[in-house]
Symmetry: C2
């Protein structure tokens, strides 16, 4: 019994059985009690330690559960064999990290920042309050794999009215961001598919693709959009395009190229077009450009959309519309994926759309962003010999070619010195040497309207303009 002469602390906050368990475990792990040793019977040890038999039993059972000890019926408890390991009882709990030193940024011209000051918090909170309640307790359980039907219905209605997209809720998959949906597509379409991506383009897409075994071909872009003719002689099966509003140039893919692209895809069974319709809500003149999906009659267009720009970047709700044959394949092969968006959030958004709050918010924001664009152009206009706007006038940013003899790096760096953050065009190109002309992607949407002039003038000053 000597081997178990442990000191139990009756005043400790840790229960007696736990102290006993910890003691025996440590003895076993340190080799003090060796393999095969029979532990004292519960009654004897309880007497010896002046504790209840129940305490000893609980400690022994825990040792059994963890596999240190084996209980043999009518014989007792025996220590099991164990390989050596330098067991470490690490002691330091979480170190409070010194709060990270943040760079001072007065204004961030990030092309995907939105103006948060007009978000209808009261309406959103009202819908949240209505959804989060015991009458909706079934919403806590796992929902439909494609996303909640009520939300898919609202999305289908919206897409039909706003983008000419024809789909039923059954062809929609809701996901936590375009990146997640793209990854599901990559799995669905197989690793031997070759992707063509716009270059420059939305850089995250090519970075994701490069992490998969699929081959990726950059496709050149000119003032009619992506050069579709290059596809004919390439091994590309899948094209990732932004036809309504190329990122970052804002170019609209010309009608001729749209038709060529659709015809190219129609040429072989395994060809598809992935249409990323980001920012399409924010055209400020004329009618919005119809989606490519709305022109497709051969089920060749996979349509991607998101609420990041039109609502909240941090809410992480995006969706894709699959042509029927692909949707069937998805159901067969990938239906084990659960929907990646909280059901509660899906219902809040569905009600927000159903009540017209989404449409009202969009209409309001469109006017605000339009004013910001006009303001930006007005401020830049007098410098048109040094600052040439090389992008289409829509969305959340303009691309400015800066002709003061500086490189993109210098422009970004000097802005930073003035506590401003701007983004070089080369950040969005696969070939980092892209372009001989220094171009800056200037997001105007996230800067408060009344400070836009000050922000841009500070930027120009930092560039010596």
């Amino acid at each position: 019994m000597e081997m178990l002469s442990c000191q139990l602390d009756r005043e400790s906050s840790s229960p007696m059985y736990e102290q006993l368990y910890t003691y025996i475990k440590t003895e076993i792990m340190s080799g003090q009690i060796s393999f095969g040793t029979k532990l004292p019977s519960k009654r004897k040890l309880a007497d010896f330690l002046k504790v209840s038999q129940n305490t000893v039993e609980t400690a022994y059972e825990q040792l059994v559960a963890e596999g240190f000890v084996e209980g043999v019926p009518r014989k007792g408890y025996f220590v099991l064999a164990s390989e050596d390991l330098e067991y470490v009882q690490r002691v330091n709990p979480i170190k409070k990290q010194s709060s990270k030193k943040k760079e001072t940024i007065d204004y961030n011209f990030h092309p995907s920042w939105i103006d948060t000051s007009y978000f209808p918090f009261n309406n959103w909170r009202k819908h949240a309050r209505n959804i989060i309640g015991p009458e909706n307790h079934s919403l806590l359980l796992t929902g439909e794999q494609q996303g909640e039907y009520v939300l898919r219905e609202e999305i289908a209605n919206y897409l039909y009215q706003a983008r000419g997209v024809h789909c039923s809720p059954n062809e929609i998959i809701v996901g936590a961001g375009i990146e997640i949906l793209l990854q599901q597509l990559i799995l669905l379409l197989g690793h031997s598919s070759v992707y063509g991506v716009e270059d420059p383009g939305y850089h995250v897409i090519s970075r994701i693709l490069q992490n998969y075994p699929n081959k990726v071909f950059p496709l050149e872009v000119d003032n009619e959009g992506v050069k579709v003719d290059e596809l004919g002689n390439s091994p590309v099966d899948l094209v990732y395009v932004t036809p309504s509003h190329h990122f970052p140039y804002g170019t609209v893919l010309s009608a001729n190229r749209r038709i060529k692209l659709l015809n190219w895809a129609g040429g072989l069974a395994n060809r598809y077009i992935i249409e990323d319709d980001y920012d399409s809500e924010f055209r400020y003149s004329g009618k919005s450009i119809p989606s490519l999906q709305s022109m497709d009659k051969r089920e060749k267009v996979i349509y991607l959309g998101t609420f990041s720009k039109s609502l909240i970047p941090s809410i992480r709700i995006s969706y894709m519309v699959l042509p029927k044959p692909l949707m069937n394949r998805y159901k067969e092969e990938l239906s084990f994926f659960q929907c990646t968006v909280s059901r509660i959030d899906q219902h809040i958004l569905a009600n927000f759309m159903k009540d017209g709050d989404f449409e009202r918010h969009l209409n309001r924001m469109r006017k605000i962003y339009r004013r910001k664009l006009e303001k930006t152009l007005e401020i830049l206009k007098p410098y048109s010999d040094i600052l040439e706007i090389v992008s289409d006038l829509s969305g959340f940013h303009v691309v400015v070619e800066v002709k003061n003899g500086w490189t993109e790096d210098m422009l970004v760096q000097q802005a930073k010195e003035a506590h401003l953050k701007v983004y070089p065009l080369s950040a969005y190109a696969m070939d980092k040497q892209y372009g001989s002309h220094p171009r800056i992607v200037l997001g105007f949407a996230g800067v408060p309207e009344e400070e836009l002039e000050k922000a841009i003038r500070t930027l120009l000053t930092s560039w010596g303009i």
Copy 2:
């Protein structure tokens, strides 16, 4: 001008410019106006149609934007070349789908269903109300890629106290489900890594892996957990295990095997153990089993956890703890991935944890599920000759071997006839022929406590027991 003798409807709800634009576009697409044709000047067409010049200009600009027409300075507007396409103006809007006919299920014994009736809706709603407000407007913008720091801090504290996991918030990545985090791991660890998975085990894991180029090896499981000795002679680099509570058997990986497993991983630089610590909150006797991560001193254990069971399955918040070297690699290679969970939800959860609501909820649910387990055992006990419980007594389900001579299929089918849903063990095995003994995974957590007896008795009756 004859070519543009379109009928504009002044009473229509569609604006004049849009009618004109649609008319010209249709004429171009149908070939009525051919490539190279010069369109009438704005002034002439405006006079002819009795509309303002502004209307014509807006229509022309839209055609230019979409690439049907080109504006040549001082010359006018010309129709651009376009390949042929059978353009379809699809007309059917969304068909209202007939509401899907649902199978009648009175009770669902799904092993991952929770009891939703005790969820603290009021507290959750209170935290939601506090977070969703204009004072938090910056939460609308994209947040930290690993997840919100405040939430990672709460998770690190919780893991240290409840699971002995040592980590700083900097080593945690928050994601919309274990599946999403596993996919990021697969990309991080490369496609040539070979995975070993428990068989039977959590089937979604192997199904995800099978969609990647990585090779997957099934690892046998016995009453000490996964057979670690098999690893030595295998090409496996990464092992996906559930050491605290094997799915579905509930077995605790024995101390000896834990140490062997850690030593195996320590043997080569590219070996890692992925510890899925699902359900670990729900042990009903003794102390909880310490995590494998807490025994690891060589930075070989990747720890995965989720709030699906402990809180809400549909909220989609999970997390992983990476060893420091892997975390550094993640930051270098995969930092373009944005966090997949809504920031608002992350802050609601962080406050819920900070205020102790999470701990109180866990303690309460542990008691409830324990009572349900005891009730289940009590009801099954008299039939122990036909119904053998072959799983550990913890978590949300038991595995029952049914010795009435029926196959798993028959057991599932007969239960279904009685409006009950149960799950065959073979659904969780890679080899569908797995096991010669018919076993049923019986989740008791999702069935209301007061109806548990009725539900189980109905099940036994359906099986002729």
